[in-house]
């Protein structure tokens, strides 16, 4: 079933505060074949936060993860993410379009620190392929 466009503009409950642990940053860097030696976390590390916020959205709308493909992702930083940060993420749906039986959902997730200051904005387009559009190929 295609997504209800009335979800545009909806902001989902923020994620629980996420303490950025150096060990997690290290693991993330290692998974990409690099090493972490202090300083800013790898530029795409906040996907960990954006992904959790996306999970809240998917659950609220009853969308299974395996029907979602990432269409676009962008991070715009106000300042780098560093271990010790405690970050909270809230996702807003900014647009929904239906193309060729798939839903294109544009989202904006604001990541804020313990003091409430904006650290970065993560923008994503998610492609949802509804089950009833599935081919047998």
């Amino acid at each position: 079933m295609p997504l209800d466009p009335s979800i545009v503009g909806r902001t989902y409950p923020p994620t629980a505060p996420y303490p950025v642990a150096e060990e997690r940053v290290r693991e993330f860097a290692a998974a990409l074949g690099t090493s972490y030696d202090g300083g800013p976390a790898p530029a795409t590390f906040p996907i960990v936060l954006a992904f959790e916020a996306m999970g809240t959205f998917l659950e609220a709308e009853g969308l299974p993860l395996h029907r979602i493909v990432h269409g676009e992702q962008r991070f715009a930083y106000e300042r780098p993410v560093v271990p010790g940060d405690v970050l909270t993420t809230a996702l807003t749906v900014t647009s929904v379009r239906s193309i060729g039986g798939a839903d294109l959902v544009a989202t904006r997730s604001e990541v804020t620190d313990a003091g409430g200051a904006l650290v970065l904005t993560a923008s994503a387009t998610l492609v949802h392929r509804p089950a009833d559009e599935e081919g047998a190929a």
Binding site: L32, V69, Q73
Partner: protein, 139 residues
């Protein structure tokens, strides 16, 4: 070590990285993205994909790596579209993804780099772009 001179039009050395199923499993754990389309051929083909594909964010992570290796400095912006899947076979060789970057502009210490990311001759990312605050003196 002095800061490298960076100028618009400059081509950065291309970087090639190998991606295997083992990498995807490791990344799934580190990122929290355990979507089965990144490890199960059964689920991937059931939703119409050619097979297990790399997380788009794995490839964007490699984009960040390519940028960091070529231009040291703080990333203030990174983004791309995921235009073609990086299909990762269930073998030890995996696939290779190549990143070639060109400096589009340098302004107020910020370098904007446009990349081309290819896998087997196919562009896999749309408009990959990284903006770096250049590190070091003279930046």
């Amino acid at each position: 070590m002095s800061a490298p001179e960076v100028a618009a039009g400059q081509e950065l050395p291309a970087r090639t990285y190998r991606v295997t199923r083992a990498d995807l499993v490791r990344y799934a754990g580190a990122s929290g993205d355990r979507n089965p389309i990144h490890w199960s051929d059964r689920v991937a083909t059931a939703v119409g994909l050619p097979g297990v594909i790399a997380h788009g964010m794995y490839t964007q992570g490699l984009l960040a790596r390519a940028a960091a290796e070529a231009l040291p400095g703080e990333v203030v912006e990174i983004g791309c579209k995921f235009t073609a899947p990086v299909v990762v076979p269930d073998d030890d060789e995996g696939v290779e993804v190549t990143f070639a970057g060109t400096v589009a502009s340098v302004e107020d210490g910020l370098a904007t780099v446009r990349f081309e990311a290819t896998c087997g001759g196919t562009k896999v990312l749309g408009a990959p772009r990284v903006v770096v605050r250049l590190a070091g003196p003279g930046a």
